[in-house]
Protein backbone atom coordinates (compact mmCIF):
# COMPACT_ATOMS: atom_id res chain seq x y z
CA UNK A 1 0.00 0.00 0.00
CA UNK A 2 1.37 3.39 -0.94
CA UNK A 3 2.04 5.74 1.93
CA UNK A 4 -0.32 8.66 2.19
CA UNK A 5 1.19 11.84 0.83
CA UNK A 6 2.43 13.83 3.81
CA UNK A 7 0.97 17.30 3.86
CA UNK A 8 2.59 18.97 6.81
CA UNK A 9 5.62 18.70 8.97
CA UNK A 10 3.65 17.11 11.75
CA UNK A 11 2.62 14.28 9.43
CA UNK A 12 6.09 13.81 8.14
CA UNK A 13 8.44 14.52 10.97
CA UNK A 14 7.81 11.11 12.45
CA UNK A 15 8.26 9.12 9.30
CA UNK A 16 11.25 10.32 7.33
CA UNK A 17 14.96 10.08 7.91
CA UNK A 18 15.60 11.12 4.35
CA UNK A 19 18.34 13.70 3.99
CA UNK A 20 18.19 16.11 1.05
CA UNK A 21 21.18 16.42 -1.24
CA UNK A 22 22.45 19.65 -2.75
CA UNK A 23 24.94 20.43 -5.50
CA UNK A 24 28.40 21.81 -4.67
CA UNK A 25 27.27 25.22 -5.98
CA UNK A 26 24.38 25.29 -3.54
CA UNK A 27 26.63 24.15 -0.70
CA UNK A 28 29.02 26.98 -1.59
CA UNK A 29 26.12 29.42 -1.39
CA UNK A 30 25.28 28.09 2.07
CA UNK A 31 28.88 28.52 3.13
CA UNK A 32 28.75 32.19 2.09
CA UNK A 33 26.00 32.70 4.64
CA UNK A 34 27.88 30.73 7.28
CA UNK A 35 30.96 32.92 6.79
CA UNK A 36 29.07 35.98 8.05
CA UNK A 37 28.99 34.70 11.63
CA UNK A 38 31.63 33.69 14.17
CA UNK A 39 32.66 30.04 13.59
CA UNK A 40 31.18 28.94 16.91
CA UNK A 41 27.86 30.61 16.06
CA UNK A 42 26.73 28.49 13.14
CA UNK A 43 23.12 28.57 14.31
CA UNK A 44 22.91 32.21 13.20
CA UNK A 45 22.86 30.94 9.61
CA UNK A 46 19.81 28.76 10.28
CA UNK A 47 17.11 31.18 9.15
CA UNK A 48 18.96 32.61 6.12
CA UNK A 49 19.91 29.18 4.76
CA UNK A 50 16.55 27.61 5.46
CA UNK A 51 14.62 30.43 3.86
CA UNK A 52 16.81 31.71 1.08
CA UNK A 53 18.25 28.39 -0.07
CA UNK A 54 16.53 25.27 1.20
CA UNK A 55 12.97 26.57 0.82
CA UNK A 56 13.86 27.90 -2.63
CA UNK A 57 15.41 24.60 -3.74
CA UNK A 58 12.85 22.26 -2.17
CA UNK A 59 9.79 24.47 -2.64
CA UNK A 60 8.90 24.27 1.05
CA UNK A 61 10.45 23.37 4.40
CA UNK A 62 10.32 19.61 4.14
CA UNK A 63 11.70 17.00 6.45
CA UNK A 64 14.59 16.04 4.17
CA UNK A 65 15.72 19.65 3.90
CA UNK A 66 15.54 20.08 7.64
CA UNK A 67 17.49 16.86 8.23
CA UNK A 68 20.18 18.14 5.91
CA UNK A 69 20.39 21.53 7.63
CA UNK A 70 20.69 19.92 11.06
CA UNK A 71 23.74 17.98 9.88
CA UNK A 72 25.15 21.00 8.06
CA UNK A 73 24.95 23.26 11.13
CA UNK A 74 25.80 20.56 13.73
CA UNK A 75 22.38 20.97 15.30
CA UNK A 76 19.60 18.63 16.30
CA UNK A 77 16.68 18.24 13.93
CA UNK A 78 14.42 19.57 16.69
CA UNK A 79 16.51 22.76 16.84
CA UNK A 80 15.64 23.48 13.23
CA UNK A 81 11.94 22.72 13.74
CA UNK A 82 11.90 24.82 16.88
CA UNK A 83 12.91 27.84 14.84
CA UNK A 84 11.12 26.97 11.61
CA UNK A 85 7.72 26.65 13.25
CA UNK A 86 7.93 30.18 14.65
CA UNK A 87 8.22 32.23 11.46
CA UNK A 88 5.37 32.83 9.05
CA UNK A 89 7.46 32.79 5.87
CA UNK A 90 8.51 29.17 6.28
CA UNK A 91 6.10 27.06 4.28
CA UNK A 92 5.63 23.97 6.40
CA UNK A 93 3.55 22.40 3.70
CA UNK A 94 3.85 22.60 -0.08
CA UNK A 95 2.58 25.77 -1.73
CA UNK A 96 1.72 26.53 -5.33
CA UNK A 97 4.35 27.67 -7.80
CA UNK A 98 3.10 31.22 -7.32
CA UNK A 99 2.43 32.07 -3.70
CA UNK A 100 0.09 35.06 -3.64
CA UNK A 101 0.20 36.82 -0.29
CA UNK A 102 -2.38 39.56 0.08
CA UNK A 103 -1.83 42.11 2.84
CA UNK A 104 -4.91 42.23 5.07
CA UNK A 105 -3.78 44.75 7.70
CA UNK A 106 -5.45 48.07 8.33
CA UNK A 107 -4.32 50.43 5.55
CA UNK A 108 -4.78 47.76 2.89
CA UNK A 109 -8.05 46.71 4.47
CA UNK A 110 -9.60 50.17 4.26
CA UNK A 111 -8.17 50.80 0.78
CA UNK A 112 -9.84 47.84 -0.90
CA UNK A 113 -8.18 44.59 0.18
CA UNK A 114 -11.51 42.75 0.66
CA UNK A 115 -12.51 43.34 -2.99
CA UNK A 116 -9.06 42.33 -4.22
CA UNK A 117 -9.10 39.13 -2.18
CA UNK A 118 -12.62 38.29 -3.30
CA UNK A 119 -11.66 38.82 -6.93
CA UNK A 120 -8.48 36.75 -6.79
CA UNK A 121 -10.14 33.89 -4.94
CA UNK A 122 -13.14 33.72 -7.22
CA UNK A 123 -10.92 33.92 -10.28
CA UNK A 124 -8.74 31.05 -9.05
CA UNK A 125 -11.64 29.12 -7.51
CA UNK A 126 -9.99 28.76 -4.09
CA UNK A 127 -10.23 30.22 -0.61
CA UNK A 128 -7.40 31.93 1.26
CA UNK A 129 -5.05 29.24 2.53
CA UNK A 130 -5.73 26.94 -0.41
CA UNK A 131 -3.81 25.89 -3.51
CA UNK A 132 -5.29 25.46 -6.98
CA UNK A 133 -5.62 21.89 -8.17
CA UNK A 134 -2.95 22.34 -10.81
CA UNK A 135 -0.53 23.41 -8.09
CA UNK A 136 0.09 26.79 -9.71
CA UNK A 137 -1.33 29.21 -7.17
CA UNK A 138 -1.63 29.43 -3.41
CA UNK A 139 -3.47 32.38 -1.87
CA UNK A 140 -2.65 33.51 1.66
CA UNK A 141 -3.82 36.49 3.67
CA UNK A 142 -0.84 37.96 5.50
CA UNK A 143 -0.13 40.78 7.93
CA UNK A 144 1.37 44.16 7.03
CA UNK A 145 4.05 44.05 4.33
CA UNK A 146 5.26 47.64 4.66
CA UNK A 147 3.49 49.10 1.62
CA UNK A 148 0.71 51.02 3.31
CA UNK A 149 1.20 54.10 1.13
CA UNK A 150 0.56 52.04 -1.98
CA UNK A 151 -2.33 50.01 -0.62
CA UNK A 152 -3.86 47.64 -1.46
CA UNK A 153 -0.94 45.40 -2.22
CA UNK A 154 0.18 41.80 -2.48
CA UNK A 155 3.44 39.95 -2.68
CA UNK A 156 3.86 37.08 -5.13
CA UNK A 157 6.96 35.16 -4.19
CA UNK A 158 9.22 38.05 -3.26
CA UNK A 159 7.76 40.51 -5.79
CA UNK A 160 5.74 43.45 -4.51
CA UNK A 161 2.62 44.42 -6.46
CA UNK A 162 1.22 47.71 -5.20
CA UNK A 163 -1.63 50.16 -5.83
CA UNK A 164 -3.73 47.19 -6.93
CA UNK A 165 -6.96 47.50 -8.86
CA UNK A 166 -9.14 44.72 -10.24
CA UNK A 167 -7.64 45.45 -13.68
CA UNK A 168 -4.00 45.27 -12.60
CA UNK A 169 -4.70 42.10 -10.61
CA UNK A 170 -6.14 40.53 -13.77
CA UNK A 171 -3.07 41.51 -15.76
CA UNK A 172 -0.72 40.12 -13.10
CA UNK A 173 -2.58 36.81 -12.78
CA UNK A 174 -2.87 36.40 -16.54
CA UNK A 175 0.86 36.94 -16.95
CA UNK A 176 1.51 34.07 -14.53
CA UNK A 177 -0.83 31.54 -16.08
Amino acid sequence: MAAATPTSYTDKVIVSDEVAEFSPEIIAEMNEHLAKYPPERKRSALIPILMLIIQRERGWVDNAGVNFLAKFLDLEVTDIWETATFYSMFNLRPVGRHHIQICKTLSCKIMGEPEITEHICSKLGIHPGETTEDGKFTVSLVECLGSCGTAPMMQIGYDFHEDLTIETVDQILDSLR
Binding site: R43, I47, Y87, M89, T105, L106, S107, G146, C148
Partner: protein, 435 residues
Amino acid sequence: MEIKAIGCEPLSLKRVGIQDGHTLKVYQDTGGYVQLKKAFGMSPDEIIQHVKDSALRGRGGAGFPTGMKWSFVPKDSPKPKYIVCNADESEPGSFKDRYLLEYDPHALIEGMIIAGWALKASTGYIYFRGEYNYLIHIMDRALAEARDAGLLGKNIFGSGFDMDIHTHTGAGAYICGEETALLSSLEGFRGHPRMKPPFPAVEGLYACPTVVNNVETLTSIPQILEMGGIAWRDLGTEKSGGTKLWSISGHVKKPGVYELPMGYADMEKFIMEDCGGMLRDNKLKAVIPGGSSVYIMNAGQILGKNVTLDYEGIVEAGSMLGTGGMMVMDETVDVVETTKNLSEFYKHESCGWCTPCREGTDWLVKIFNRISVGEGRPEDAQLLLDICDNIEGKSFCPLGDAAAWPVQSAIKQFPDDFKKWLTKKANGNGIEANI
Protein backbone atom coordinates in the same frame (compact mmCIF):
# COMPACT_ATOMS: atom_id res chain seq x y z
CA MET B 1 2.88 57.98 -3.85
CA GLU B 2 4.62 61.18 -2.74
CA ILE B 3 8.15 61.32 -1.41
CA LYS B 4 9.16 64.79 -0.32
CA ALA B 5 10.45 67.10 2.41
CA ILE B 6 8.26 69.91 3.70
CA GLY B 7 9.45 72.73 5.93
CA CYS B 8 13.11 71.65 5.66
CA GLU B 9 15.80 70.64 3.21
CA PRO B 10 15.61 66.92 2.50
CA LEU B 11 18.22 65.22 4.68
CA SER B 12 17.10 61.63 5.04
CA LEU B 13 15.35 61.95 1.68
CA LYS B 14 18.31 63.65 0.00
CA ARG B 15 18.93 60.79 -2.41
CA VAL B 16 15.56 59.09 -2.35
CA GLY B 17 14.24 59.19 -5.87
CA ILE B 18 17.53 60.37 -7.40
CA GLN B 19 18.72 58.39 -10.41
CA ASP B 20 21.21 55.75 -9.20
CA GLY B 21 21.13 57.20 -5.68
CA HIS B 22 21.87 53.71 -4.41
CA THR B 23 25.27 53.53 -6.10
CA LEU B 24 28.58 54.40 -4.48
CA LYS B 25 29.39 56.85 -7.23
CA VAL B 26 26.27 58.97 -6.79
CA TYR B 27 26.57 58.70 -3.02
CA GLN B 28 30.12 60.03 -3.09
CA ASP B 29 29.25 62.68 -5.68
CA THR B 30 26.64 63.99 -3.28
CA GLY B 31 28.86 64.22 -0.24
CA GLY B 32 28.84 60.60 0.84
CA TYR B 33 31.54 59.11 3.09
CA VAL B 34 32.98 62.57 3.81
CA GLN B 35 31.66 62.36 7.37
CA LEU B 36 33.21 58.95 7.85
CA LYS B 37 36.61 60.39 7.00
CA LYS B 38 35.94 63.24 9.40
CA ALA B 39 34.84 60.79 12.11
CA PHE B 40 38.20 59.05 12.05
CA GLY B 41 39.74 62.40 13.01
CA MET B 42 37.45 62.58 16.01
CA SER B 43 37.52 60.64 19.24
CA PRO B 44 34.69 58.21 19.97
CA ASP B 45 33.63 60.44 22.88
CA GLU B 46 33.35 63.46 20.62
CA ILE B 47 31.12 61.53 18.23
CA ILE B 48 28.90 60.26 21.03
CA GLN B 49 28.65 63.83 22.35
CA HIS B 50 27.42 65.04 18.95
CA VAL B 51 24.78 62.31 18.94
CA LYS B 52 23.73 63.27 22.48
CA ASP B 53 23.63 66.97 21.56
CA SER B 54 21.47 66.19 18.55
CA ALA B 55 18.63 64.92 20.77
CA LEU B 56 18.20 62.13 18.21
CA ARG B 57 15.72 59.60 19.48
CA GLY B 58 15.35 56.09 18.13
CA ARG B 59 13.24 56.21 14.99
CA GLY B 60 12.01 52.62 15.24
CA GLY B 61 9.12 53.50 17.52
CA ALA B 62 10.34 53.50 21.11
CA GLY B 63 12.03 56.89 20.83
CA PHE B 64 14.87 56.13 23.22
CA PRO B 65 17.67 58.74 23.06
CA THR B 66 20.30 57.32 20.74
CA GLY B 67 23.30 59.01 22.34
CA MET B 68 22.32 57.63 25.72
CA LYS B 69 21.93 54.15 24.27
CA TRP B 70 25.41 54.37 22.81
CA SER B 71 26.89 55.58 26.07
CA PHE B 72 25.66 52.42 27.84
CA VAL B 73 28.17 50.31 25.92
CA PRO B 74 30.98 49.46 28.35
CA LYS B 75 34.26 50.85 27.09
CA ASP B 76 36.45 48.36 28.89
CA SER B 77 34.72 45.15 27.82
CA PRO B 78 37.17 42.62 26.39
CA LYS B 79 34.37 41.07 24.32
CA PRO B 80 33.77 41.91 20.67
CA LYS B 81 31.09 44.54 20.15
CA TYR B 82 28.33 44.65 17.57
CA ILE B 83 26.28 47.25 15.72
CA VAL B 84 22.97 45.82 14.59
CA CYS B 85 20.67 47.72 12.29
CA ASN B 86 17.01 46.96 12.80
CA ALA B 87 15.57 46.84 9.26
CA ASP B 88 12.68 44.66 10.40
CA GLU B 89 10.22 47.40 9.52
CA SER B 90 6.86 45.77 10.20
CA GLU B 91 4.78 48.18 12.23
CA PRO B 92 1.47 48.52 10.38
CA GLY B 93 1.42 51.99 8.85
CA SER B 94 5.22 52.31 8.58
CA PHE B 95 7.06 52.06 5.31
CA LYS B 96 9.71 54.78 5.45
CA ASP B 97 12.79 52.61 6.02
CA ARG B 98 12.02 50.71 2.85
CA TYR B 99 12.75 53.81 0.76
CA LEU B 100 15.97 54.62 2.60
CA LEU B 101 17.16 51.04 2.05
CA GLU B 102 16.19 51.08 -1.59
CA TYR B 103 17.55 54.48 -2.59
CA ASP B 104 20.25 55.32 -0.06
CA PRO B 105 21.90 52.14 1.24
CA HIS B 106 25.30 53.80 1.52
CA ALA B 107 23.96 56.36 4.01
CA LEU B 108 23.11 53.46 6.30
CA ILE B 109 26.50 51.85 5.74
CA GLU B 110 28.27 55.14 6.51
CA GLY B 111 26.17 55.61 9.65
CA MET B 112 26.96 52.08 10.78
CA ILE B 113 30.71 52.46 10.26
CA ILE B 114 30.71 55.74 12.21
CA ALA B 115 28.74 53.99 14.98
CA GLY B 116 31.23 51.13 14.81
CA TRP B 117 34.17 53.50 15.18
CA ALA B 118 32.51 55.38 18.05
CA LEU B 119 31.75 52.17 19.93
CA LYS B 120 34.75 50.10 18.82
CA ALA B 121 32.54 47.55 17.13
CA SER B 122 34.10 45.72 14.22
CA THR B 123 31.09 43.78 13.03
CA GLY B 124 27.72 45.02 11.93
CA TYR B 125 24.59 43.15 10.92
CA ILE B 126 21.58 44.54 9.10
CA TYR B 127 18.52 42.50 10.05
CA PHE B 128 15.92 42.76 7.26
CA ARG B 129 12.39 41.58 7.57
CA GLY B 130 12.18 38.51 5.33
CA GLU B 131 9.64 40.09 3.00
CA TYR B 132 12.11 42.85 2.07
CA ASN B 133 14.12 40.37 0.06
CA TYR B 134 14.74 42.73 -2.89
CA LEU B 135 16.28 45.25 -0.51
CA ILE B 136 18.77 42.67 0.72
CA HIS B 137 20.05 42.34 -2.85
CA ILE B 138 20.41 46.11 -3.13
CA MET B 139 22.25 46.25 0.19
CA ASP B 140 24.53 43.31 -0.68
CA ARG B 141 25.58 45.16 -3.83
CA ALA B 142 26.20 48.36 -1.86
CA LEU B 143 28.25 46.47 0.75
CA ALA B 144 30.32 44.85 -2.01
CA GLU B 145 30.97 48.29 -3.53
CA ALA B 146 32.03 49.61 -0.14
CA ARG B 147 34.38 46.66 0.41
CA ASP B 148 35.92 47.09 -3.03
CA ALA B 149 36.50 50.78 -2.31
CA GLY B 150 38.20 50.04 1.02
CA LEU B 151 35.36 51.61 3.01
CA LEU B 152 34.82 48.30 4.75
CA GLY B 153 37.45 45.77 5.70
CA LYS B 154 40.88 46.28 7.19
CA ASN B 155 42.35 49.63 8.16
CA ILE B 156 39.58 51.85 6.78
CA PHE B 157 40.99 55.21 5.54
CA GLY B 158 44.29 54.31 7.22
CA SER B 159 42.63 54.65 10.63
CA GLY B 160 43.75 51.25 11.85
CA PHE B 161 40.05 50.45 12.36
CA ASP B 162 38.60 47.28 10.83
CA MET B 163 34.94 46.70 10.22
CA ASP B 164 32.65 44.56 8.11
CA ILE B 165 28.87 44.62 7.78
CA HIS B 166 26.61 41.76 6.71
CA THR B 167 22.99 41.42 5.73
CA HIS B 168 20.77 38.97 7.58
CA THR B 169 17.23 37.95 6.70
CA GLY B 170 14.34 37.38 9.06
CA ALA B 171 11.50 35.09 8.05
CA GLY B 172 8.28 36.85 8.95
CA ALA B 173 7.73 37.86 12.58
CA TYR B 174 6.67 41.32 13.75
CA ILE B 175 8.08 40.64 17.22
CA CYS B 176 11.61 40.63 15.79
CA GLY B 177 11.36 44.41 15.58
CA GLU B 178 11.71 44.33 19.37
CA GLU B 179 15.45 44.54 19.85
CA THR B 180 16.01 41.56 22.13
CA ALA B 181 13.72 39.35 20.04
CA LEU B 182 15.68 40.48 17.00
CA LEU B 183 18.89 39.32 18.66
CA SER B 184 17.34 35.92 19.49
CA SER B 185 16.37 35.62 15.85
CA LEU B 186 19.80 36.71 14.66
CA GLU B 187 21.24 33.88 16.73
CA GLY B 188 18.94 31.42 14.94
CA PHE B 189 16.29 30.98 17.59
CA ARG B 190 12.57 31.70 17.82
CA GLY B 191 12.00 35.44 18.08
CA HIS B 192 11.35 35.55 21.79
CA PRO B 193 12.24 38.73 23.67
CA ARG B 194 14.77 38.49 26.46
CA MET B 195 14.77 39.79 30.00
CA LYS B 196 16.16 43.31 30.44
CA PRO B 197 18.49 43.96 32.19
CA PRO B 198 21.00 43.03 31.03
CA PHE B 199 20.37 45.45 28.22
CA PRO B 200 21.82 44.67 24.79
CA ALA B 201 24.41 47.41 25.27
CA VAL B 202 25.94 45.18 27.93
CA GLU B 203 24.87 41.70 26.84
CA GLY B 204 23.35 41.60 23.39
CA LEU B 205 24.29 39.53 20.40
CA TYR B 206 26.20 36.41 21.52
CA ALA B 207 26.15 37.95 25.03
CA CYS B 208 28.46 40.71 23.79
CA PRO B 209 27.89 44.48 23.98
CA THR B 210 25.52 45.41 21.15
CA VAL B 211 23.76 48.50 19.93
CA VAL B 212 20.56 47.96 17.98
CA ASN B 213 19.37 50.99 16.03
CA ASN B 214 16.68 51.59 13.43
CA VAL B 215 17.54 52.35 9.78
CA GLU B 216 16.45 56.00 9.93
CA THR B 217 18.34 56.47 13.20
CA LEU B 218 21.62 55.24 11.70
CA THR B 219 21.23 57.13 8.42
CA SER B 220 20.87 60.31 10.51
CA ILE B 221 24.36 59.89 11.97
CA PRO B 222 26.31 61.27 8.97
CA GLN B 223 23.88 64.25 8.88
CA ILE B 224 24.57 64.94 12.55
CA LEU B 225 28.33 64.89 12.06
CA GLU B 226 28.03 67.12 9.01
CA MET B 227 25.98 69.80 10.77
CA GLY B 228 27.16 69.25 14.32
CA GLY B 229 24.87 67.82 16.95
CA ILE B 230 23.39 71.07 18.18
CA ALA B 231 22.71 72.50 14.73
CA TRP B 232 21.01 69.26 13.73
CA ARG B 233 18.91 69.32 16.88
CA ASP B 234 17.88 72.89 16.16
CA LEU B 235 16.19 71.79 12.95
CA GLY B 236 13.57 70.45 15.31
CA THR B 237 12.77 71.25 18.90
CA GLU B 238 14.93 71.10 21.98
CA LYS B 239 13.61 67.73 23.10
CA SER B 240 12.82 66.27 19.69
CA GLY B 241 15.82 67.01 17.52
CA GLY B 242 16.24 67.02 13.77
CA THR B 243 13.86 65.92 11.06
CA LYS B 244 11.65 62.86 10.93
CA LEU B 245 10.21 60.69 8.20
CA TRP B 246 6.46 60.19 8.29
CA SER B 247 4.70 57.39 6.44
CA ILE B 248 1.16 58.44 5.55
CA SER B 249 -1.45 55.98 4.37
CA GLY B 250 -5.18 55.49 4.27
CA HIS B 251 -7.79 57.99 3.15
CA VAL B 252 -5.64 60.92 2.01
CA LYS B 253 -5.18 62.10 -1.56
CA LYS B 254 -1.39 62.01 -1.45
CA PRO B 255 -0.11 59.17 0.72
CA GLY B 256 3.63 58.78 0.93
CA VAL B 257 6.82 59.38 2.85
CA TYR B 258 7.30 62.95 4.05
CA GLU B 259 10.29 64.43 5.83
CA LEU B 260 9.31 67.11 8.31
CA PRO B 261 11.25 69.04 10.90
CA MET B 262 10.31 67.92 14.40
CA GLY B 263 7.75 70.30 15.84
CA TYR B 264 6.05 70.84 12.47
CA ALA B 265 2.73 72.60 12.90
CA ASP B 266 0.42 71.07 12.64
CA MET B 267 -1.21 67.69 12.15
CA GLU B 268 -4.36 69.18 10.62
CA LYS B 269 -2.43 71.23 8.07
CA PHE B 270 -0.28 68.24 7.29
CA ILE B 271 -3.22 65.97 6.55
CA MET B 272 -5.54 68.51 4.96
CA GLU B 273 -3.01 70.46 2.90
CA ASP B 274 0.36 68.75 2.57
CA CYS B 275 -1.14 65.30 2.03
CA GLY B 276 -3.77 66.70 -0.31
CA GLY B 277 -6.68 66.43 2.08
CA MET B 278 -9.16 63.63 2.48
CA LEU B 279 -9.78 61.14 -0.29
CA ARG B 280 -13.11 61.81 -2.07
CA ASP B 281 -13.36 64.92 0.18
CA ASN B 282 -14.96 62.82 2.89
CA LYS B 283 -14.85 63.92 6.50
CA LEU B 284 -11.93 62.99 8.73
CA LYS B 285 -12.93 60.47 11.37
CA ALA B 286 -9.81 58.97 12.91
CA VAL B 287 -6.03 59.07 12.83
CA ILE B 288 -3.55 56.58 14.19
CA PRO B 289 -0.50 58.85 14.18
CA GLY B 290 2.46 56.62 14.96
CA GLY B 291 1.94 53.13 13.62
CA SER B 292 -0.75 50.70 14.79
CA SER B 293 0.64 50.40 18.32
CA VAL B 294 -0.38 53.85 19.51
CA TYR B 295 -3.68 55.36 20.67
CA ILE B 296 -6.20 56.09 17.94
CA MET B 297 -7.33 59.75 17.84
CA ASN B 298 -10.71 61.13 16.81
CA ALA B 299 -11.09 64.17 14.58
CA GLY B 300 -11.91 66.37 17.57
CA GLN B 301 -8.47 65.77 19.03
CA ILE B 302 -6.85 67.08 15.84
CA LEU B 303 -8.99 69.67 14.03
CA GLY B 304 -8.35 73.14 15.37
CA LYS B 305 -6.09 71.77 18.09
CA ASN B 306 -2.71 72.74 16.60
CA VAL B 307 -1.11 69.36 17.30
CA THR B 308 2.61 69.70 16.62
CA LEU B 309 4.36 66.77 15.03
CA ASP B 310 6.99 65.84 17.58
CA TYR B 311 7.20 63.44 20.52
CA GLU B 312 5.79 65.90 23.07
CA GLY B 313 3.09 67.43 20.88
CA ILE B 314 1.45 64.14 20.03
CA VAL B 315 1.58 62.90 23.62
CA GLU B 316 -0.12 66.10 24.68
CA ALA B 317 -2.83 65.50 22.10
CA GLY B 318 -3.44 62.04 23.48
CA SER B 319 -1.35 59.64 21.43
CA MET B 320 2.28 58.90 20.57
CA LEU B 321 4.71 59.52 17.73
CA GLY B 322 5.85 55.89 17.55
CA THR B 323 7.38 55.22 14.14
CA GLY B 324 5.55 58.11 12.47
CA GLY B 325 3.38 55.67 10.54
CA MET B 326 0.23 57.75 10.26
CA MET B 327 -2.97 56.02 9.17
CA VAL B 328 -5.81 58.33 8.26
CA MET B 329 -9.43 57.18 8.19
CA ASP B 330 -12.54 58.89 6.92
CA GLU B 331 -16.16 58.78 7.99
CA THR B 332 -16.82 55.57 6.06
CA VAL B 333 -14.85 53.40 8.47
CA ASP B 334 -16.31 51.63 11.44
CA VAL B 335 -13.81 51.82 14.28
CA VAL B 336 -15.02 48.49 15.68
CA GLU B 337 -13.98 46.85 12.43
CA THR B 338 -10.64 48.65 12.20
CA THR B 339 -9.83 47.79 15.81
CA LYS B 340 -10.78 44.16 15.20
CA ASN B 341 -8.36 44.19 12.29
CA LEU B 342 -5.52 45.39 14.52
CA SER B 343 -6.40 42.92 17.27
CA GLU B 344 -6.12 40.13 14.70
CA PHE B 345 -2.69 41.47 13.79
CA TYR B 346 -1.46 41.39 17.40
CA LYS B 347 -2.91 37.97 17.99
CA HIS B 348 -1.09 36.66 14.94
CA GLU B 349 2.16 38.36 15.91
CA SER B 350 2.17 37.60 19.63
CA CYS B 351 5.21 35.38 20.07
CA GLY B 352 3.48 33.19 22.65
CA TRP B 353 6.21 33.55 25.24
CA CYS B 354 4.14 35.15 28.01
CA THR B 355 0.59 34.35 29.05
CA PRO B 356 -1.00 37.83 29.25
CA CYS B 357 -0.14 38.63 25.63
CA ARG B 358 -0.66 35.16 24.13
CA GLU B 359 -4.02 34.52 25.81
CA GLY B 360 -5.13 38.13 26.01
CA THR B 361 -4.76 38.85 22.30
CA ASP B 362 -6.62 35.63 21.53
CA TRP B 363 -9.53 36.66 23.76
CA LEU B 364 -9.67 40.14 22.24
CA VAL B 365 -10.13 38.58 18.82
CA LYS B 366 -12.72 36.08 20.08
CA ILE B 367 -14.83 38.90 21.48
CA PHE B 368 -14.44 41.06 18.38
CA ASN B 369 -15.50 38.07 16.31
CA ARG B 370 -18.74 37.72 18.15
CA ILE B 371 -19.37 41.45 18.06
CA SER B 372 -18.81 41.53 14.30
CA VAL B 373 -21.47 38.89 13.63
CA GLY B 374 -24.05 40.73 15.72
CA GLU B 375 -23.63 38.55 18.80
CA GLY B 376 -22.03 41.26 20.91
CA ARG B 377 -23.27 41.64 24.45
CA PRO B 378 -23.92 45.00 26.16
CA GLU B 379 -21.06 44.36 28.57
CA ASP B 380 -18.54 43.46 25.85
CA ALA B 381 -16.88 46.87 25.72
CA GLN B 382 -16.15 46.60 29.44
CA LEU B 383 -14.97 43.04 28.94
CA LEU B 384 -12.53 44.18 26.24
CA LEU B 385 -11.22 46.87 28.59
CA ASP B 386 -10.88 44.32 31.36
CA ILE B 387 -8.81 42.04 29.14
CA CYS B 388 -6.67 45.00 28.04
CA ASP B 389 -6.11 45.81 31.69
CA ASN B 390 -4.79 42.28 32.16
CA ILE B 391 -2.38 42.64 29.22
CA GLU B 392 -1.14 46.21 29.59
CA GLY B 393 1.95 46.47 31.76
CA LYS B 394 1.79 42.76 32.54
CA SER B 395 3.32 41.28 29.42
CA PHE B 396 6.99 40.36 29.06
CA CYS B 397 7.65 42.89 26.30
CA PRO B 398 5.90 45.96 24.86
CA LEU B 399 3.91 43.94 22.31
CA GLY B 400 1.25 43.43 24.95
CA ASP B 401 0.88 47.17 25.52
CA ALA B 402 0.77 47.67 21.77
CA ALA B 403 -2.13 45.23 21.56
CA ALA B 404 -4.03 46.85 24.42
CA TRP B 405 -3.67 50.54 23.52
CA PRO B 406 -5.56 50.51 20.19
CA VAL B 407 -8.53 48.78 21.84
CA GLN B 408 -8.62 50.99 24.93
CA SER B 409 -8.36 54.19 22.92
CA ALA B 410 -10.92 53.04 20.32
CA ILE B 411 -13.53 52.44 23.02
CA LYS B 412 -12.70 55.75 24.68
CA GLN B 413 -12.65 57.92 21.55
CA PHE B 414 -15.36 56.16 19.52
CA PRO B 415 -17.95 54.94 22.02
CA ASP B 416 -20.77 55.42 19.49
CA ASP B 417 -19.23 52.92 17.09
CA PHE B 418 -19.18 50.32 19.84
CA LYS B 419 -22.66 51.22 21.07
CA LYS B 420 -24.06 50.68 17.61
CA TRP B 421 -22.80 47.10 17.58
CA LEU B 422 -23.45 46.24 21.17
CA THR B 423 -26.92 47.69 21.49
CA LYS B 424 -28.36 46.04 18.42
CA LYS B 425 -27.62 42.73 20.09
CA ALA B 426 -29.12 39.78 18.29
CA ASN B 427 -31.72 39.07 20.98
CA GLY B 428 -33.30 42.40 20.17
CA ASN B 429 -33.81 43.48 23.77
CA GLY B 430 -32.14 46.78 23.01
CA ILE B 431 -30.24 47.01 26.27
CA GLU B 432 -28.05 50.10 26.22
CA ALA B 433 -24.40 49.12 25.97
CA ASN B 434 -22.39 49.79 29.06
CA ILE B 435 -19.54 52.00 27.84
